[in-house]
């Protein structure tokens, strides 16, 4: 890979080269595109907007909790605020962020295909995603939803807010992700370039394949469950409502049958991103390729058999609770396999602390904390004390934000030169990665403590225990830092899209078809020449590649660079 290093001719791309971005400039060409890369960019814009809405709701929650008595919102509005935060973040951001943005953009590039198997279906799923998002937004404009993102019956059937509209929106979003998953499955199975065998696939593809399987098998169940709630509200059919003869716990069963695997829909693609980043910036082949690949599939399948650990305190039987508890502990094994393999990959590597690598390292630390606290919640006896407190809030934020969003931001920074053909400011990248890490821990670590002390989740005051205010103020301060950490990439990346330095086809010296055989940004058909894969993935060599990337030179003076 010496050709891509800075001291050997930085293959300067003539800017007037055709690529997918300048193929056509009209708005129509974007809105009716079937190019997977443009659809990825459309998703990028969409999820950023939804993330912003969710983040505003989060900020309101944090501000409210700085006082034991509440300062900003009434109880009803607070309920709607945390519902908005949960619904936007889960259904409109986390579930789609990595698969739909980076997955859409990269899967055909990584396997050497010209496009997804069903490009028009791909576009349709974006429109469905937007329709779902607009309906959810409409439901909040028309008065909001106060049942939380879990929509537990009978609260959601009795509530007089805009729940039906919101559920229809989520239903449509769900089918959008089903169509995306169908596309991924067909693409990964049938569209691989000649020579791209299963064991030559990047681990990113393995994890997206597992994700697609989970989406296919889980999403329809939650779709029908939420549909039944709509029917119950609309027509008085009583399938879940105890007043009408149903069993509300059945709703929880069916809801978590999807929503626990949904956690893996969020985290598995992040695993894939981290696998790519760690190998690239350690300059070593991944350690235990097959273990990581199969642990993705193991997580996908075992993830379906643990939903009951959300229901230890419902009227689920203790016997079933025990079984779910045991399977949950088993599920920790494949996740741990991945973390160990990443760590071993770095051992004796030539590590570059570039922006994506900082996010990846942050991911590993935060996911470790998130995962291990998950084990406290997986044991029935400790769960009885901790469930429904801020401990659980902190736990899943460590996994979701510390896992998925770190992975997402790391992936965006890693593939940014590929997506837009420009490089961002490495210095600002590193600074904001550090800010996110610090802000994140400051926000959520106090929540572990206050949750352990007994602060219930979804309460908007705690006048009964004003001593908790200290932790809440710490948390709110941290969330401000975190907010800055999320705003900064928004600013310098947007700047870089228009004004950044031009990037060569392979600024990181990374392996993989998308770096080695496609331009930055790629042309509409992805590859100039037919692709033939002859070697295994990740054949990095730490000794050969101990030099700096072109990307790093700019900031080398300021931050000391490497060495």
């Amino acid at each position: 890979m010496s050709a891509t290093l800075i001291d050997n001719a930085t293959a300067e791309q003539p800017r007037n080269d055709r690529n997918y971005l300048n193929a056509d400039h009209t708005l129509k060409s974007w809105l009716l595109t079937v190019d997977h890369k443009r659809i990825g960019i459309l998703y990028l814009i969409a999820v950023t907007i939804f993330f912003f809405i969710g983040a505003v709701a989060a900020a309101m929650i944090r501000y409210e909790l700085t006082s034991p008595h509440g300062i900003l919102l009434s109880s009803e509005v607070y309920n709607k605020t945390f519902s908005a935060h949960g619904i936007y973040m889960v259904f409109q951001f986390l579930v789609v962020a990595i698969p739909a943005v980076l997955g859409n953009f990269l899967i055909p590039l990584m396997i050497g295909a010209r496009d997804m198997a069903f490009p028009r279906l791909n576009l349709l799923s974006w429109y469905m995603f937007m329709t779902g998002g607009l309906l959810i937004t409409l439901s909040f404009i028309l008065g909001g939803v106060d049942a939380g993102w879990t929509f537990y019956v009978p609260l959601s059937t009795l509530s007089e807010t805009q729940i039906s509209l919101c559920l229809v929106g989520i239903f449509i979003t769900g089918f959008s992700s089903i169509f995306t998953a169908v596309n991924f499955i067909a693409t990964i199975h049938k569209m691989r370039a000649p020579g791209m065998t299963w064991y030559r696939l990047p681990l990113y593809i393995w994890s997206h394949y597992s994700t697609a399987i989970v989406i296919l098998l889980g999403t329809p169940v939650v779709a029908i469950t939420l549909f039944l709630v709509v029917v119950e509200r609309g027509f008085g059919f009583g399938i879940f409502s105890p007043e009408l003869g149903g069993d509300p716990v059945l709703f929880q069963h069916l809801f978590w049958f999807y929503s626990h695997p949904a956690v893996y829909i969020m985290i598995l693609p992040a695993f894939g991103v981290i696998s790519e980043i760690i190998t690239c910036f350690s300059r070593r082949p991944i350690f235990g390729y097959k273990f990581i690949a199969y642990s993705s599939l193991a997580i996908a399948f075992l993830g379906f058999l643990v939903w009951g650990h959300h229901m230890f305190l419902s009227s689920q039987s203790v016997l079933q609770g025990l079984i779910f508890s045991i399977i949950t502990w088993i599920l920790a094994v494949p996740s741990a396999i991945k973390v160990f393999n990443w760590t071993t990959t770095m051992y004796k590597g030539s590590i570059h602390f570039s922006t994506p690598m900082l996010y990846a390292l942050g991911f590993m630390g935060l996911f470790l904390i998130g995962g291990l606290t998950g084990l406290h919640l997986a044991s029935i006896d400790t769960d009885v004390h901790l469930t429904g407190t801020y401990f659980i809030v902190a736990h899943f934020h460590y996994v979701m934000v510390g896992g998925t969003i770190m992975g997402y931001l790391g992936g965006i920074h890693f593939w940014f030169p590929k997506m837009f053909g420009r490089t961002y400011s490495e210095m600002w990248g590193r600074i904001s990665a550090m800010i996110v890490f610090v802000g994140f821990n400051l926000t959520f670590f106090p929540q572990f403590i206050v949750g352990y002390l007994g602060m219930p989740r979804r309460y908007h005051y705690y006048y009964f225990a004003p001593e908790w205010q200290f932790y809440h103020i710490l948390s709110t301060a941290g969330s401000t830092v975190l907010g800055i950490g999320f705003l900064l990439p928004g600013i310098y990346l947007t700047y870089a899209i228009f004004k950044g330095k031009k990037a060569g086809p392979n600024p990181w010296g990374a392996k993989g078809l998308e770096w080695e055989q496609a331009g930055s940004p790629p042309i509409t058909e992805n590859f100039e020449k037919p692709v033939l894969v002859l070697e295994d993935p990740y054949n990095y060599n730490p000794e050969e590649d101990s030099k700096m990337y072109e990307h790093e030179v700019e900031s080398a003076d300021m931050l000391g660079g490497r060495k």
């Binding site: 379906f304 009227s315 039987s317």
Partner: protein, 135 residues
């Protein structure tokens, strides 16, 4: 395009790998309608005491339904002649369906609990303010 190329092409896959013959379609159709007749016949003509044995009757009805489903999936939907990939997806979907039934384990094992649950206290299915004390 030369004629030679064209023949190559058709051999390569312009035509399907397997066409279900007409006789076969009729045969399967016969099986399906026979299955339907058997379902209805079983529901009304099986004598006592078997007729009031819910488990037997239900198993019989489901067995016939599964038989019919297998005919449709194997032959009409072409899984029997499909690629290995199609087979994996077809079987996988139907097998995964049964993981949902793990939920039944919860309801079956609730009576084993020392504390009365939802099913042993019928009144708990009433609105909360009307729940009576289960003694």
């Amino acid at each position: 395009m030369a004629g030679h190329d064209h023949s190559e092409l058709t051999k390569g896959g312009a035509h399907p790998h397997h066409v279900l013959p007409q006789g076969m379609i009729f045969l399967i159709a016969g099986g399906l309608f026979a299955g339907m007749a058997a379902t209805i016949g079983a529901a009304f003509m099986i004598p006592e005491p078997l007729h009031s044995n819910t488990f037997f009757m239900q198993s019989l009805a489901l067995a016939i339904a599964i038989f019919k489903a297998c005919l449709v999936v194997y032959f009409y939907m072409g899984v029997k002649f499909g690629t290995r990939l199609v087979k994996i997806f077809a079987y996988g979907g139907f097998i995964w369906f049964f993981t949902l039934f793990i939920m039944m384990a919860d309801y079956v094992s609730r009576p084993l609990e020392p504390v009365p649950g939802w099913e042993t206290v019928p009144s708990s299915a009433l609105p909360r303010n009307t729940v009576e004390d289960p003694e």
